[in-house]
C-alpha cells in the first residue's frame, strides 16, 4: 500500500464524521436562520418558530437521519482495509508518526464502526418516536446528529493516533461533545446527570493527563527527544530505560484516569447516571465503544508499564480495580429497579472482566479481552437501542411497571431478550467464548490469580441472576399487542447476528485478533 493510501485510510475514520458533523451543524443553523423574523411579534413567537421547520420537513422519510449512517460505513471500510494491510505487512503510519494503525487500531475501528452501525441505524426510528411524542424539534435533531458525529470523530481519533498526548485530548473531547447529549433535556435528572458526567470525567481524565506528563518527563530524562517522547512505539521500544519510580506514579494516575472514563472504580459514579439519561442510541455508543476506547488506552500504557516495571505492578493494580468494580456492579445490579441503569451496571461488570483479563495478561487472556470488547459492544448497543424503544412504548424506566413485553411487542422484546441473553454470556454469543477464555487464562496463571478469577466468577454469577430475574419480569406476563414497525429493528437483528457469528467463529478476523494480541504484549 502506498503512503498516500495509508494516510487516507488513517485520516478518513476521524475526518469523515467530523465533516458530516460540520454539515449537520451548518444545515441546522441555516434552517434556523429564517426564524428571527417573526420572533418579536408575540411573546409566544419563539415557540411557533421552533416548530415551524418541523412542519416543513413533514415527509416520513427523512434522508438527513439516514445520512448519519455514512460515517459508520466509512469507519468499517477503513477498518477492514487497514486490518488487511497491517496483518500482511505490519503497522502503518502517516503525518510523521502522528497517526498510526496497528492491529489493535484496526480491531477497535471495526468495533467502533459495527457499534455505530447499530446505533446510527436505530437513530431514525428513535428520533421519529421522539418527534411523535413532541420531545424533539428540528433544532434538537440537528444538534443530536452533529454531536453524535463529532463523538464518533473523537473516538476514531483516540484510536488511530500514536501520540499519547493526542490520545488524551481525543478522550477528553468525547466528554465535551457528549455532555449535551447526556443533558439533552432540561429536566432535573438530565441536568444532574450531565453535571456529574462532565465534572467526574474531566477531573478523572485530568489525572490521566498528569500521568501522561510524568511519563513524558521520564521519557525525556531517558534521552528520548521532544518529538518522540509521547510516541507510543518509541516508548514501548525504550521502556526499559524509563525511571521506575516516576513511571510507577505515572502509570497509576493513567490507569485511574482512563479507568474513570472506562467506568472502573473509584471514579465510576457518572456512568449509571449518564447512561440512563442519554438518548438510547447515544447510550449504546457510550456503553458499547466509549468505555472500551478508554480501556484501549489503558491497554497501550500497560505495555509500557510491563516493559519498564515488570508485569507485577499493573497486574495487582488492574486486578484490584477489576474486583472492586465487579463487586460494586453485582451488588447494585441486585438492588436495581430501573432497566437502563441495570444495563449501565452490566457495562461496569463487563468492563471489569476486561480489566481482569488485562491483569492476567497472557495471550489467551488478552485475545479474550479483545473479543469481549467486540461482543460486549455489539450486545450492549442492541440492548440499549431496544431499551430506548421500550421506553417510548411504556413511558417509564421502572422495571416494576413493565410487564408482558413479549405479548405487547414480540419482535422488540425478542431483540431485547436476545441482547440480555448475550450479556449473560450464553452460547452461541461471543461473550460466552470470551468469558470462558478469561476464566481459563485466570486459572492457568497461578494460584493468586486463580483465586481472583474464582471470586470474579462468583460475582458474575450474582450479576447473571439479577439480570435474568429482572429481564424475565419485564418480558413475561399478559399484555395487549401494540403496533410494531419491524423494518426499524434491522440494526438490532444485525447486531445480534454479528455477536452470535463472532461466538461461532472469528473467521477472517482470526489473524487480526492474534496480531492485535501480539501488539499489546500477548
Amino acid at each position: 500500500m502506498s503512503p498516500t493510501a495509508s494516510a487516507l485510510l488513517l485520516t478518513a475514520p476521524a475526518a469523515t464524521p467530523l465533516v458530516i458533523a460540520a454539515a449537520y451543524a451548518l444545515t441546522g443553523l441555516r434552517t434556523r436562520r429564517p426564524a428571527p423574523v417573526p420572533a418579536p411579534v408575540t411573546a409566544k413567537g419563539p415557540v411557533l418558530v421552533a416548530e415551524a421547520p418541523a412542519v416543513q420537513e413533514a415527509p416520513a422519510r427523512r434522508p438527513a437521519d439516514w445520512a448519519g449512517l455514512l460515517s459508520p460505513v466509512v469507519i468499517l471500510l477503513c477498518g477492514s482495509l487497514l486490518a488487511a494491510a497491517v496483518v500482511d505487512d505490519g503497522p502503518r503510519t502517516a503525518y510523521s508518526g502522528l497517526l498510526r494503525a496497528d492491529a489493535l487500531t484496526a480491531w477497535m475501528l471495526l468495533v467502533v464502526g459495527a457499534v455505530a452501525v447499530v446505533a446510527c441505524g436505530s437513530a431514525p426510528a428513535y428520533l421519529s418516536g421522539e418527534r411523535a411524542a413532541g420531545r424533539a424539534d428540528a433544532g434538537t435533531v440537528w444538534r443530536y446528529h452533529a454531536l453524535v458525529q463529532a463523538f464518533l470523530a473523537a473516538m476514531c481519533l483516540a484510536v488511530v493516533t500514536a501520540d499519547l498526548g493526542v490520545l488524551w485530548v481525543a478522550v477528553e473531547a468525547t466528554t465535551i461533545v457528549t455532555a449535551f447529549l447526556v443533558g439533552h433535556r432540561h429536566t432535573r435528572t438530565s441536568v444532574e446527570a450531565a453535571w456529574k458526567y462532565v465534572v467526574i470525567c474531566s477531573a478523572g481524565i485530568a489525572l490521566a493527563f498528569l500521568g501522561t506528563v510524568l511519563i513524558y518527563y521520564a521519557a525525556r530524562q531517558a534521552g528520548i527527544g521532544e518529538a518522540w517522547a509521547l510516541d507510543w512505539p518509541t516508548l514501548v521500544a525504550r521502556a526499559d530505560r524509563l525511571d521506575p519510580a516516576v513511571t510507577r506514579l505515572g502509570i497509576t494516575l493513567v490507569v485511574l484516569g482512563f479507568g474513570a472514563k472506562a467506568g472502573l472504580v473509584p471514579l465510576h459514579a457518572w456512568l449509571p447516571d449518564a447512561h440512563s439519561q442519554a438518548p438510547a442510541p447515544v447510550s449504546a455508543l457510550m456503553s458499547g465503544v466509549l468505555l472500551s476506547v478508554a480501556f484501549a488506552a489503558v491497554l497501550r500504557y500497560r505495555v509500557i508499564a510491563d516493559a519498564a516495571l515488570g508485569p507485577g505492578f499493573t497486574r495487582v493494580l488492574l486486578a484490584g480495580i477489576a474486583l472492586l468494580t465487579l463487586a460494586l456492579a453485582a451488588g447494585l445490579l441486585l438492588a436495581q429497579r430501573d432497566y437502563k441503569r441495570m444495563l449501565a451496571y452490566s457495562s461496569m461488570e463487563h468492563m471489569s472482566l476486561i480489566a481482569l483479563a488485562a491483569a492476567i495478561g497472557s495471550p489467551l487472556a488478552l485475545s479474550a479481552a479483545l473479543l469481549h470488547i467486540a461482543g460486549h459492544g455489539l450486545a450492549k448497543s442492541v440492548a440499549f437501542c431496544a431499551s430506548g424503544r421500550i421506553l417510548q412504548i411504556v413511558g417509564t424506566t421502572r422495571i416494576g411497571r413493565v410487564r408482558g413485553l413479549l405479548a405487547r411487542a414480540p419482535l422488540l422484546a425478542g431483540a431485547f431478550a436476545g441482547a440480555v441473553v448475550a450479556l449473560m454470556a450464553f452460547p452461541p454469543f461471543s461473550l460466552f467464548a470470551s468469558e470462558l477464555g478469561i476464566a481459563r487464562a485466570g486459572f492457568a496463571a497461578g494460584q493468586r490469580l486463580g483465586w481472583v478469577t474464582a471470586v470474579a466468577l462468583l460475582l458474575v454469577l450474582i450479576a447473571f441472576a439479577a439480570l435474568a430475574a429482572r429481564t424475565a419480569r419485564m418480558l413475561l406476563g399478559p399484555g395487549a399487542p401494540t403496533e410494531e414497525n419491524p423494518s426499524a429493528l434491522w440494526p438490532l437483528a444485525l447486531g445480534l447476528a454479528a455477536c452470535a457469528a463472532l461466538g461461532v467463529t472469528t473467521g477472517p478476523l482470526t489473524d487480526l485478533l492474534h496480531a492485535a494480541t501480539r501488539a499489546i504484549g500477548g
Binding site: V166, W168, E172, G183, W195
Partner: protein, 239 residues
C-alpha cells in the same frame, strides 16, 4: 539573567502559585475566589515565561503568554459572566418575598456552608502540601534542577484542586476546583519538562476552554431546573 536571580524569581512565582490555591480555600465569596484564580493564572504564566527566558526558548515564552491570556483572562471572564447571570436572573416574583430572595441571592454567590469549615480546610491544605512533597521525591531525584525542585508545588495545587472539587457545594466553586486541578497539572508539566509538545498543549487548552463553556451552560440550566446551584440538591439520581 543570572542563575541566582532566575532561581529566586522562579521560587517566587511558584510560591505565589501555591498561595493563590490556599487563598481560594480560605475565601467564601465566589467573586473573590475567581479573582484569586485569575492571579494564579498570572503566576502560572510567569513560571512558563521564566523557564522560556532561562532556556532561551522563545516558543515557550509565547506559550506562557498564551496560557496567561487563557487562564488569567478568558476563563475568569467566563466564570464571572456565569456568576453575573446567576445574580441577574432573579425570578420575577411578588415583591413581598424580597427578604427571602435576597437571602437566596447571597447564598448563590457565597459558599455559605462548605462541607468542611475554613480552618480544617487550611489544615488539610497543609497536609496535602506535605503529601505532595513526599510523593514528588522520586520526581525531583531523577533530575535535580531549580525547576524540578519546585515541582511539588504543582502537585500540591493538583491535590488542593481535588479537595475544593469534592468539598465545595456551589457549582461554580466546583468549576474553580477543576481549574485549580488543571493549573496544577500545567505547572507540573512546565516545571518537569518545560511543557508538553505544542500540539498537545493546544489541544489541552482548547479542551479546558470547552469544558468550562459546557459547565457554564450547565450551571444556568441547573439554576433553571433546581432554582439553585447547590450541588447537594442534585439528588434525583441514586440507587
Amino acid at each position: 539573567m543570572s542563575n541566582g536571580l532566575y532561581t529566586q524569581l522562579l521560587d517566587l512565582a511558584c510560591g505565589a502559585f501555591l498561595l493563590a490555591a490556599v487563598i481560594v480555600l480560605w475565601q467564601r465569596e465566589l467573586a473573590a475566589i475567581v479573582r484569586v484564580f485569575g492571579l494564579q493564572g498570572i503566576a502560572l504564566a510567569a513560571i512558563a515565561v521564566l523557564l522560556g527566558a532561562h532556556e532561551e526558548r522563545w516558543d515557550l515564552v509565547a506559550v506562557g503568554i498564551g496560557i496567561g491570556v487563557l487562564r488569567a483572562g478568558v476563563l475568569p471572564y467566563l466564570i464571572r459572566r456565569a456568576l453575573a447571570a446567576l445574580t441577574a436572573a432573579e425570578p420575577a416574583e411578588a415583591p413581598r418575598r424580597i427578604t427571602g430572595r435576597q437571602r437566596a441571592h447571597s447564598e448563590e454567590v457565597r459558599e455559605t456552608q462548605p462541607l468542611i469549615n475554613i480552618t480544617a480546610s487550611l489544615l488539610t491544605a497543609a497536609l496535602l502540601t506535605l503529601l505532595a512533597y513526599a510523593a514528588a521525591r522520586p520526581l525531583t531525584e531523577l533530575n535535580p534542577t531549580p525547576a524540578t525542585r519546585a515541582l511539588p508545588v504543582g502537585l500540591a495545587v493538583v491535590l488542593i484542586g481535588f479537595f475544593v472539587l469534592v468539598t465545595r457545594r456551589r457549582a461554580l466553586a466546583q468549576v474553580v476546583g477543576f481549574l485549580l486541578l488543571d493549573n496544577g497539572i500545567t505547572a507540573t508539566a512546565f516545571l518537569a519538562t518545560s511543557g508538553v509538545p505544542l500540539i498537545v498543549e493546544l489541544g489541552v487548552s482548547f479542551d479546558v476552554l470547552l469544558a468550562v463553556l459546557v459547565l457554564q451552560i450547565l450551571t444556568t440550566r441547573m439554576r433553571e431546573a433546581f432554582g439553585t446551584t447547590d450541588i447537594d440538591d442534585l439528588r434525583e439520581l441514586h440507587d
